[in-house]
């Protein structure tokens, strides 16, 4: 499955557009990470636990999007976009969407 955030592919023709596919995932971190994060709020710096957490949930959201695309028979997803929103304290929603296409 080819995933790209460009609208066209150089040298390849799009045979059919299959519409929007999407995947999302909401995650909260565990207490240990929360305590570390509140410490970091005093000293400043990178919150590694959060970075990992968001990376994991982003992978999961992309997985879901891919599964959806496979289910409708696409072989590529173009024009992929990410969006993040904090739903509640300590929980973030990651949303990925793109257009599923069949390449020749």
């Amino acid at each position: 499955m080819l995933i790209s955030n460009m609208e066209i592919l150089p040298g390849k023709q799009i045979q059919k557009h299959l519409g929007l596919v999407q995947g999302s995932s909401v995650r909260a971190k565990h207490v240990g990470r929360d305590i570390m994060a509140s410490l970091k709020n005093i000293f400043g710096g990178e919150l590694k636990g959060y970075t990992e957490l968001l990376q994991e949930s982003r992978d999961e959201a992309m997985d879901r999007m891919q599964q959806q695309a496979q289910a409708i028979g696409a072989n590529a997803i173009l024009n992929v976009r990410f969006s993040t929103s904090s739903v509640a304290q300590g929980a973030a929603e990651i949303y990925v969407y793109g257009s599923a296409v069949i390449l020749e």
């Binding site: 955030n5 994060a37 709020n41 400043g44 990178e46 919150l47 959060y50 976009r81 993040t84």
Partner: protein
């Protein structure tokens, strides 16, 4: 009285550790940017015509937090208005770090360019009184790789 002491201790700790961490972070950013300056990242939406290259989505993200001292300064700024330099440097660091991580990923894949680079910023944990404590920056783009199979 005890509250005041705690506040002052947090302020000094935040100031000293925060300044030191920021300085070190900037040093590392500049060093890595130098190393990766040969890999162009372009915000253009379309790749150069003619060349046929494989492509893959690459991304890098950072969650970074502000220190206690700077947050206090920023709260003061809210009273008087003006540039909030403490948040400016926070976002600058987050953006550059994310872009670097994306470039590192692209470099490992053997990319020639990274096209259509986009940024996405979100404040993750809003602390008390809705002050922004930490931001997440995600940078993503499409890496154009050298074709794996011989033409």
């Amino acid at each position: 009285m005890i509250e005041l002491i705690i506040f002052l201790v947090l302020m000094t700790l935040g100031y000293l550790v925060g300044q030191y961490a920021e300085k070190r972070h900037y040093e590392s950013i500049i060093k890595r940017e130098q190393k990766l300056k040969n890999l162009p990242t372009i915000a253009s939406r379309f790749p150069p015509p003619g060349k046929r290259l494989d492509q893959q989505l690459v991304m890098g993200s950072t969650v970074i937090s502000i220190d206690y001292f700077k947050r206090f300064i920023a709260t003061l700024r809210n009273l008087f208005g003006g540039r909030v330099t403490s948040y400016e440097s926070l976002l600058d660091r987050a953006r550059r770090e994310s872009l670097l991580r994306m470039k590192e990923q692209a470099n490992e894949l053997g990319a020639e360019y990274v096209f259509n680079v986009k940024y996405e910023t979100a404040s993750i944990s809003k602390g008390r009184n809705n002050t922004i404590g930490s931001v997440e920056v995600l940078a993503y783009g499409t890496a154009l790789l050298r074709p794996s199979e011989a033409p």
